[in-house]
């Protein structure tokens, strides 16, 4: 039992990091197609990362030790968080390590590091990015926690595996608050991953950029790690939405190998579906002004709060 859960944990950890570039590549491909371009291969992100890794590291003159260790932390924190979100099975050995709150906080830790790294060189772009990133985070994080709150109240737990059990057991049914939470979580996911309309992952040198502004000074393997981290994070959020709102097909503990295989396929399918959805959404929507973020995320926060309060109206708790 322990052994299998260790095995699935290793598999989950590997999927979290290995599949992530593919997801990003897939989103880019779909977007290109929607824009009428042929677009690069979905495997292009792997090549990019490999190229970055091999490149020489150029450090700014006054880069400190913090600047150099930050990418490792950013990447590992994100990776850790990703490997704790059940994707194809809930039978993972590390799953009691962290609940949903810890997941949010782990991502927060990664963001803390990246914002500091952005400030380290002392350029105005870095500061600009860090400042905006923290603004977004200060609204997105509570919104996400409130979503967690709703689920925790519904399922009586903050552990993702238990929530899945609860949802699969049909305890939820069609809940208004689940719907509201889903919307809130989607908004947060968009903001946190720097997608349109909050940020545009494809741009540089725009005064509206956030994430890219912080990592402008990174090169070589550091940049590779950071890029990889953001890819992992994208996949993490999609997985999170899947595991909470669309857990069907996931292998619960006690199921055999065929459950795992089914879970893997189901996960892959759902991942592709949501990635495609993201691409479509990004294509049809326009980028926002920086100071509209607050409205966007404040909306998410209020939606999630509303979701909690509506719980009582429907008397689910």
């Amino acid at each position: 039992m322990i052994l299998t859960s260790v095995l699935w944990q290793v598999l989950q950890t590997l999927i979290a990091v290995l599949a992530a570039p593919l997801v990003t590549g897939f989103v880019r491909l779909i977007k290109a197609r929607l824009n009428g371009r042929i677009g690069p291969s979905p495997l292009q992100p792997y090549r990019d990362l490999a190229r970055l890794l091999r490149k020489e590291l150029v450090l700014a003159g006054n880069a400190s030790w913090l600047f150099r260790i930050a990418p490792y932390f950013i990447f590992s924190f994100t990776w850790m968080a990703a490997s704790l979100v059940p994707s194809f099975t809930t039978n993972l050995v590390l799953i009691p390590t962290a609940d949903m709150i810890t997941l949010v906080a782990l991502l927060g830790a990664a963001r803390f590091m990246i914002a500091l790294a952005g400030l380290d060189i002392g350029t105005s772009f870095g500061g600009l990015g860090a400042s905006r990133e923290m603004l977004i985070a200060s609204l997105a994080e509570p919104a996400m926690l409130m979503t967690v709150f709703t689920l925790a109240l519904l399922a009586g737990t903050t552990a993702p595996a238990r929530i899945i059990d609860y949802v699969l057991a049909g305890g939820v049914g069609l809940q208004v608050s689940m719907g509201l939470s889903l919307v809130a979580l989607l908004l947060v996911a968009i903001a946190e991953n720097g997608r349109i309309p909050i940020d545009n992952p494809a741009t540089h040198l725009e005064l509206t950029m956030v994430h890219e502004a912080m990592v402008l000074e990174y090169t070589g393997r550091h940049l590779a790690l950071i890029e990889a981290a953001s890819m992992v994070r994208l996949q993490l959020y999609i997985s999170l939405i899947i595991c909470i709102f669309l857990p069907w097909g996931i292998s619960q503990s006690g199921k055999g190998l065929e459950g795992i295989v089914l879970g893997l396929f189901a996960y892959g399918g759902k991942l592709a579906l949501l990635a495609a959805g993201l691409a479509v959404f990004e294509t049809v929507i326009a980028k926002m002004r920086v100071f509209r973020y607050a409205d966007f995320l404040g909306g998410a926060l209020l939606l999630s709060l509303l979701a909690t309060l509506v719980l009582y109206v429907s008397e689910a708790v």
Partner: protein
């Protein structure tokens, strides 16, 4: 145990006398701080011993109120706070040993510092209202003197004055709370107060007064006004104590009132305290976000953390009011853990600020920068503190906030609508304040330690001396330790909380090592140990892969910055510009922040200007009207003193008439 502790405390006044007697001697201040270090070490051990031993240990001195005598008592609960206080005192004293060398008025500090420690320790040990308030006031007065160290500055005198006024206000409130309890319990001893039976109104009065009294010391919004004024004025190791430790003494007595003494407040008092805590947390961190004075920023962050601890206390009270004692114990344990954690991390941050201050003589974060290169140890420790206080795993701040959030998730179990709706809202406030704390500390750390030096002083800074570094490292290690291995600490805390609630051996915090889970394992769990091990493993894997995969060449070059060439460090993002988006989003309504841009046309050669105007809503809305009112009334009443003798006689006549008429009316109507 109590007797030994009293003896240890008795050493402190001797140290003060030593400091006064040898005030011309250069080494005396360091020596006094060394003595304080030993005393706090001893008291800390006594605290640990009484926590482990459990039970209560009594001592009485034939002083104080004549018919009562002074009673002292150490039980596990006060033992815990003795640990918290003396842990902070230990670090601060060690830091102080070399820090005082940089101070202008070291002898003054050395004289007041031991008294401050004595006051805090005695307040924790006191077992009757009189001894408690004497110690409490002693603590206030000695810290007032410490705020007045640089009394040549007008600003510091104002800060000290505000502080003392707020302290006195708090004392009066506590006095009232004690008075009501003493009336009901039949004596000023805490024993009588424990058994006091109060009716609803009296309970409410006690809780209200205790909340105001302890709150004014702890920094409950809107009674926090003194914190941001006093903390920057005091020497840094003292501010570390005032912020990290003294606020805990206030929370200690609040806990005694709420959970140990007689009052049986209804659940809604818990809700009120919870909401007050939530407002305190959010307001505190909002203020922190816009500060440019490093120590003031830290002071506001203290306000935030006190708010979070209060949320825990509030929900514990609500559970207690509804008779859900295991939940109440959980909430209390979470809150206690947060207090412990906050004292460690805030001590660390203030000492870090002190190291920066002594190296650069600068508190304004707009004029610092790049210190990570010249003060790497300080920077690393400060970073640990900043991450911990931003509630980032795997450090200690996260664990306690996680526990508090978990208890808030239990809040809707209280069967009434206010708690059902209130708990999510307060949880949102906790989340909001944690996220904004991260923003505030990214800003603080980033502006002080990262980037390039913004002033000559920052450029010439040198690393802190060894004793200072040791205490910084020690506290940083403790931050990590309490986060990574929280289990033994939480076990003890939940036992203390349970004994205070009067329940035994309940699974408040389930801890199948290394897991930490509230009430039951299915409610969600956390393990700092496993998390850290896993993350370290992942880092190792990453590093190994990268080593094997990529080149190892490193080249230093100028910053790219999208091709801009920025010559001057003044081009960096400043503290104000960092705060600008947040200021716009949150500050527009709360602080009425207004930005005036003066952009000269291209033909002009004057520099552009951006002026930010902000208004402190609490000061302007509450304190300023009070001050104005008193001034106005004083001016009006002063005319009474400039009357002629005849008019004074008239006053006398009217008073006489009034009383006679009252007497006559009584006759007529009776």
């Amino acid at each position: 145990m109590a007797a030994q502790a009293l003896l240890a405390v008795a050493v402190l006044p001797l140290l003060t006398m030593l400091a006064m007697a040898a005030h011309r001697h250069k080494l005396a201040p360091a020596l006094v701080h060394g003595g304080c270090l030993l005393v706090s070490l001893l008291l800390g051990f006594i605290g640990i011993a009484s926590v482990l031993k459990g039970g209560a240990d009594l001592a009485a001195l034939p002083i104080g109120l004549p018919w009562l005598k002074a009673h002292f008592r150490i039980d596990a609960f006060s033992g815990l706070f003795l640990v918290i206080v003396n842990l902070g005192a230990l670090a601060a004293s060690l830091f102080g040993v070399s820090y005082v060398k940089h101070l202008n008025h070291a002898p003054r500090v050395a004289a007041a510092y031991p008294m401050f420690l004595a006051g805090m320790n005695l307040a924790l040990m006191a077992d009757d209202a009189f001894s408690f308030l004497v110690s409490w006031e002693f603590m206030s007065v000695s810290s007032w003197l410490l705020v007045l160290i640089d009394h040549e500055e007008e600003e510091n005198r104002k800060a000290a004055f505000t502080y003392l006024m707020m302290a006195l206000f708090g004392t009066f409130c506590l006095l009232g709370a004690f008075g009501v309890l003493a009336q009901a319990g039949g004596g000023y001893g805490f024993d009588a107060m424990r058994t006091a039976k109060l009716d609803g109104l009296q309970s409410s009065l006690v809780v209200l007064l205790a909340l105001l009294g302890a709150g004014s010391k702890a920094g409950l919004v809107p009674l926090h006004a003194w914190l941001p004024l006093a903390h920057p004025a005091a020497p840094s190791h003292v501010s570390a104590l005032m912020s990290g430790v003294m606020t805990k003494v206030a929370l200690y007595i609040l806990c005694r009132f709420l959970f140990d003494f007689g009052p049986t407040p209804a659940w809604w008092w818990g809700a009120i305290i919870m909401v007050a805590g939530g407002v305190t947390a959010v307001a505190g961190i909002l203020y922190a976000l816009i500060q440019t004075d490093l120590k003031r920023l830290l002071a506001y962050s203290t306000v935030e953390n006190v708010g979070i601890a209060l949320i825990g206390l509030g929900i514990a009270l609500a559970f207690k009011g509804e008779g859900m004692l295991p939940f109440a114990a959980l909430a209390l344990a979470a809150s206690l853990y947060h207090m412990l954690n906050h004292s460690v991390m805030k001590g660390l941050l203030f000492l870090g600020a002190g190291a920066v201050l002594s190296a650069t003589n600068e508190r304004n974060i707009e004029r610092l920068g790049g210190l990570i290169h010249r003060m790497p140890v300080t920077a690393a420790c400060f970073l640990a503190g900043a991450a911990a206080i931003s509630a980032l795993p795997p450090l200690n701040g996260f664990v306690s906030e996680w526990l508090i959030l978990q208890t808030l998730f239990l809040g809707p179990k209280i069967p009434n609508w206010a708690m059902k709706f209130g708990s999510p809202v307060v949880a949102a406030m906790v989340a909001l304040s944690a996220a904004m704390a991260a923003a505030a500390f990214v800003r603080a750390f980033g502006l002080v330690f990262l980037g390039r030096a913004r002033s000559q002083a920052a450029l010439l800074a040198t690393e802190a001396p060894i004793p200072m570094r040791i205490s910084l490292i020690g506290l940083a290690a403790l931050c990590a330790l309490l986060g990574i291995l929280p289990v033994s600490a939480t076990t003890i805390l939940s036992q203390i909380a349970q004994s205070l609630m009067g329940i035994e051996l309940q699974g408040t915090i389930i801890e199948g090592w290394p897991w930490l889970a509230p009430i039951s394992v299915t409610r969600g769990s956390y393990s700092g140990t496993v998390l850290v091990a896993s993350v370290l493993f992942l880092i190792l894997v990453t590093a190994v892969i990268i080593k094997g995969f990529g080149t190892r060449q490193v080249r230093r070059g100028p910053a790219w910055d999208c091709g801009h060439k920025e010559a001057s460090p003044a081009f960096q993002y400043t503290a104000s510009s960092f705060a600008q988006p947040l200021r716009r989003v949150f500050g527009a309504s709360m602080f009425q922040a207004r930005e005036d841009v003066d952009m000269p046309s291209p033909s002009e050669i004057r520099p552009a200007r951006l002026d930010v105007h902000m208004r402190d809503p609490i000061w302007q809305g509450l304190y300023q009207p009070l001050i104005d009112g008193v001034t106005h009334l004083a001016a009006r009443l002063n005319r009474l003193q400039t009357m002629t003798v005849r008019r004074h006689l008239l006053m006398m006549f009217l008073t006489l008439m009034l009383m006679l008429i009252v007497a006559a009316l009584r006759r007529v109507f009776s």
